[in-house]
Assembly symmetry: C2
Homo-oligomer: 194 residues x 2
């Protein structure tokens, strides 16, 4: 019995967009605007849902790995933008723990607050900071399901040494969600208790 490999690659347009490895993203807004641009182009190019992310090295302000939602493109329900960015960052760094001894602080930037799965994945990734654009309710408003998340999810991350910053360019991030919905974009995984 032979089982398929799982292969996950970024769409080619992502590598064209983030083509300068030396570019610095010094402010939270700089980093979020890149993630928002990823979310917008992901919809325009038809490669996935309206979500973008990135893992940044806070010691250099450089991008380590971009991420876009690739659920439909890869047939992987786990391939949310945050998970894609984390997985690629770990391949770049060569370790499953971005927070290991001697490493700089890495930040995960996500255009929407994490769903229940991505919330649970953040501590295992080793990132030290999470920056979010749109809020859960912005995603829910257009029909996306964020899953069952603890009310105190932010406190829970901070207790684990992961700082959380919300509402970074929230309106710009939410605008991509709203445009996606207005254009009739697919709201996958919205089944509940069928």
């Amino acid at each position: 019995m032979s089982y398929p490999k799982v292969i996950l690659a970024l769409p080619e347009w992502v590598e064209e967009l983030v083509c300068d490895p030396d570019r610095e993203y010094p402010t939270e807004e700089d980093r979020m605007r890149l993630a928002i641009e990823l979310s917008r182009r992901n919809v325009e190019r038809g490669t996935g849902g309206p979500f973008g992310a990135g893992v940044f090295d806070l010691s250099t302000s450089r991008l380590v790995a971009p991420g876009v939602n690739l659920v439909t493109a890869t047939n992987l329900s786990v391939a949310h933008a945050e998970i894609v960015a984390i997985m690629i960052a770990q391949q770049v760094v060569g370790h499953f723990d971005l927070g290991g001894h001697g490493r700089p602080a890495y930040e995960l930037v996500a255009t929407t607050e994490p769903c229940a799965q991505c919330f649970g994945a953040v501590p295992w990734s080793g990132v030290r900071r999470l920056a979010c654009g749109a809020r859960d309710e912005d995603a829910r408003e257009i029909g996306f399901d964020e899953g069952s998340k603890m009310d105190d999810w932010i406190f829970s991350l901070e207790r684990r040494g992961i700082s959380v910053v919300r509402d970074v360019c929230r309106d710009e991030a939410a605008a991509v969600l709203n445009e996606y919905a207005e254009d009739g974009g697919e709201i996958y995984n919205a089944r509940q208790g069928e």
Copy 2:
């Protein structure tokens, strides 16, 4: 700028162990014992942590995809046994939603109750049933961190139409955890609030 692909493949020994695609696993215990065997061999072969899983088609009682913990082997913190089984099952089926219209009911069997990440991933996968062997506290007892999970995580899954059965061969599943700890196995991702 070129980013690495993420490639995740099962260790060769897994395909040797589950070599008969027509084998049926009619009882919950049959299915769990396969997952436990996967967890045990994963440790013996040095391919990962003491966790095994499988996605089964409940209409045929056959295995769709096995999973083992591949965090250290692949440098992917998300590569818990459940996630590996779900990702491979979705490649086998050719869709990101195992619970889509017209599909049989799929069950995720896991040797330990899901951590916060895997709990969040279960609804997105489309499985209709989750069977667990060891409890959270059995994993915590040897130092593994199950993450911040809602107290009513089982109710939360059942409300979404996913039935949950616990304590399937719990002692046999927990025995693998205990043997792993006694043999000095690595307890990765145990940092908290450093």
